[in-house]
Symmetry: D2
Subunit: 365 residues, 4 copies
């Protein structure tokens, strides 16, 4: 699975593909009816189902027809409604994707913690609004990257992926008619979509955190600065000289698109009405898929980016030296006011803050 | 404070006005320098400050100049940077606004719990994709509204509003130079903005939940349906006959705009670079203000909407009767399959689900 | 080509698929080198190319490698840069898609003109803010639908799809070195992306116009109103009684997503920097693809929706009668003020406006 | 008029303020009734009106009450509906704002044409994906900026600002009842909002074009590059050494927010239903206001930015020299392939393209 319009898409593997969606829905119908559907090769009918899905507005009607025909078992799906199957399938797929995502985030966290520690005392110039400000360390910068990723991971960890079991209008009337007594701890959420919007918000938070790293690599990797570089730059179709920071470029790309996808999920949630929305529900599926896959790709690319990141302490030192006395102007002013000579260094709590962030990264949840 | 372009804006009171922003910033400077600035009438200079704010890109530089001039105390602000003041002021304002928001959400929760209980057994027709589906109760519908609000409130309750104290580049170098030893439990978040995006996401969740209610009032309040009505409809400038569902209209309006504001906060977060972003930081302030005020307004309007909501069980019963046997077609099919006569009612777990949601609404956090 | 996450996607045919993208790029390389590449089966390598595209950040580097290897012709692509190929391919694909789109829009325009004329005098009640207002005609309503589509079509007709030929940095240095003298009427637009954003804006305008129609069908097709109905409603997976307005639901769905895709194109344009953007360029491709396909689908569905639309003048008359004297309250007030008896009808210029809109629809461009 | 949350807001002057909105509405009511309302000090009642506007969902009902009371003339507003007044007022305000905007755009165009001509032969290195690519000229870069602004200006010039005169439901029934015969060349657009979305799209195009300039100033103004600088940088509240590129930062800020505002206008348009939308209409006003003011501010700041822009040809030459032979690698490869020695320069059609863009900038429309 790949996408010529989204280089790197194959990193998301089979998550949220049409084939996976179909497979999960078949599995859910099998679980519900307590029958073995592993012999049904639904994927062979994928194209038919894709086209058929329009007539009912969702893919379940065609699927049930197909499964009943293949098995001769008309009891399949009984008691469920299309939304039960689609929503639960989305959650199962999201849960699997988020498990992979968390594994990647964990790797990034470990890499960043190590990098921050390694460069705890590597001096560089801090930059605000693009201009030289005061001294800092590269470890402190990495601690900021790490904080962003930890915050994002916290939100991802908090996600829940409940089944949707409500029947035609959420009341579970069909289930009760069939003598089923479902537990009341997971309630239907057919028209209250925080379940979905929280996923979108948390994933957008991930690409925010990754882009914050990529932006620094892009800025500090400009040849005139040269303090960071991607380990293996991408080539050009015409310029033999180029080594492009391709991973950073592609990460940044993702972060320009995910917030609007998360917003679309909120707009869909805000369009809920009656006992099943007339468009708001249907508008969720593709944006959620794109959000999940793009986030998986961006996070995986960030993992690789850090893996190969070249840090150049010499260039950092050179820039800092070149920035000269100016970057100590604040210190001089403050020391003068306080009536003492400037301290020998001007790094404040940088080291202690690095240590605190690294310690946070090692907390078990 | 009101806004002719946003009817109802005055419900947000003084939250996040320019004057409040200024007052909080003065307070923060006073706290930091441990001086009394209550005698300084900064608001008199608000217009000057608004105009002056462009030259430094934020309002703090002009404010510090003004305060130092007014007091003769050049030690004011020492050790801080503009971002410390702006970010902390945003958090203080957000905290105050969210306190009011939670009070309104609590009122809505209480109203909805009562309404759901009152109409636990009020029959109405469930509608999916605008069409009659199966029987349900109005209490069950209200339980869905309530679930949405409870989910939104959970996210709002989880928000935190930390101070920002990092100095020029987040390292607290100036503070240390001045002999201050800040605690390490609240770390600088100058370039990691989950602090801000989480607020945006949670507030968009609130307008989602309110719009879900308003949409139902609008749909079920159409004269041909008439099952719900706003207590005191709005008039028309030309049609004496009109009683418009104005509150619902204005709530729905808000929910069409807040997701894009929350997305803007994510885009700003994803634009972080260096030790202070070159635009990403500045892009947060106005969208956050608008998100907060619009959410306060929408939630307050929802409170009023529920306060005056007219529920018409007779019309609900009439529609259900008119829907006829069709809405029991599913039940008949399932009963036939199960080999028994249809049960006398077809409400499934509606009552039990209502009870569970109402019980959830009464949990202390 | 279909998409289980976007029912109806197959209506967009081969437009903007990965395979089409690849085929157009091969064609462009063939045109540029003036060689016949029809014998190269690039599509066989599509998956390899999709995966390979990450290393250079776009699919062209791999493609050129593949083509040179297949043909042994190292002169292929010479003078071009990746962006020339990708951008020109996007424009060629967009031009083909827009041609189909315009054909569908023309059909819709013709249908609406006919419908407006047919129902020029079919009375119905006008509704504002969901409530009965004054009398109108269904033809007048259709004239509003038509105006929306005509406005959208005007914007689509104005689109241009220029080739991108700029070489490595837009200066055409490579072309000149190779002795080529390109005309100066179509200039490079490698970092000025109105070319792309205008497409996005125009397509969002199309889904706006289609949704405006679908919203009315959904509202007026509620069983309690019943003035409109989709010709062949969609079924339910569990309720035998349902006939859902599926086309309207799916059109509305699209319109909830396209504005954010158009916004993403603007954000990408606003991220342009240097002589090729570090992410802003790459963020365009997938959103443009989704915008184009979803608009094609929504417009085609609108065509079908109108094709099968059931209009029920009897129900319209019945509602209007039921609305009673109230809807003439404005007329009475105005007539009283003007000192004459109310005119026998209160339709104002409805007929003349319908005629004017229908006449506009028949203008050749 | 200023805004502490949006430094520079005062540049937008009185455009789209609540007071201006009110004044235009009073003027429209005066025009319609052909009476002199200049003696009515409506602004004195602005706060009352702002608060009152909620009860009818828009400010017109309160305004008409106020005007009728002040004048004793109950004929005021007769035949109009609230939407006529609000929509026409929005258009009048937009027209005035766009006139100022175009004047600023014209100034920017003139400045850029001059700058491109002045630096037609100023060598610099082209950068793609942040890395050195091939040689170019600063004039060529400016020609790209100019192309972006010209494209944006073309779209702004095409905007139209029609009055809205439709009465209660667009049919002009009230007008006809009163004996008025309105012309049919400007038809009501009460539920077809391309009128509004086109403004949003065109304004977002302006901030795109301005941000494209600002991004370059920010990147090339980094101290390690130093090829461009803002004439008068902004200061810092704590670092005496800082000269921040504040105008560029604030321009970039705007461009991060306007696309989502334009998207909101599309979402509002796509929510049109019946003869007046239940929220979609109301959601337009504030986002349109913000879009207009922010665009005015950003364009005015871009004018100032260019006014004071410091261009440093020596630094450009120094970077290019430092980039060395690498940036001619493409030329060497192409020349070798073509079988001749590399040409003495590698600027392709840069000069001719600059001339063509400058010529375009001088075309009268």
């Amino acid at each position: 699975m790949g996408d010529l319009f989204w280089p790197g898409d194959d990193r998301a593997g089979d998550h949220f593909t049409s084939a996976s969606f179909l497979a999960v829905m078949v599995l859910l119908e099998a679980e519900w009816a307590d029958v073995d559907l592993s012999g049904v090769d639904a994927e062979r009918h994928l194209e038919w189902l894709e086209n058929e899905s329009e007539s009912g507005g969702n893919p379940v009607i065609g699927l049930v027809e197909l499964l009943r025909e293949a098995t001769g078992d008309t009891a399949l799906h009984r008691g469920l409604t299309s939304q039960d199957v689609v929503d639960t399938a989305l959650m199962r797929m999201a849960e699997a994707a988020v498990a992979d995502l968390l594994a990647d985030l964990d790797r990034i966290v470990a890499q960043l913690a190590e990098l921050a520690t390694e460069h705890r005392d590597t001096p560089m110039v801090a930059r605000t609004l693009t201009q030289h400000a005061i001294p800092t360390t590269f470890g402190f910068r990495v601690a900021q990257w790490l904080t962003g990723v930890l915050d994002a991971r916290d939100d991802v960890r908090r996600l829940r992926f409940p089944d949707q079991l409500g029947g035609a209008a959420g009341t579970r009337a069909g289930m009760v008619e069939l003598g089923l007594d479902l537990p009341l701890d997971d309630l239907p959420w057919h028209t209250t979509r925080a379940t979905v919007t929280r996923i979108g918000d948390a994933l957008a938070g991930c690409t925010d955190a990754c882009a914050r790293i990529a932006n620094d690599v892009l800025a500090l990797g400009r040849p005139e600065i040269g303090e960071l570089a991607e380990g293996s730059g991408g080539g050009s179709s015409t310029m033999p000289n180029k080594a492009n920071p391709v991973l950073s470029v592609l990460i940044r790309r993702a972060a320009l698109t995910t917030p609007q996808l998360a917003a679309t999920l909120h707009l869909a949630a805000a369009s809920q009405v009656d006992d099943r929305a007339d468009g708001g529900w249907h508008a969720e599926w593709a944006p959620l898929r794109d959000l999940v896959r793009r986030t998986l790709v961006a996070v995986s690319q960030t993992d690789d980016l850090l893996d190969g990141l070249e840090v150049r302490p010499d260039r950092m030192a050179w820039t800092l030296a070149g920035a000269g006395d100016d970057v100590l102007a604040e210190q001089r002013a403050l020391a003068k006011h306080a009536g003492h000579d400037p301290a020998p260094s001007y790094l404040g709590q940088a080291g202690a803050i690095i240590d605190a962030v690294v310690a946070r990264s090692k907390e078990t949840r």
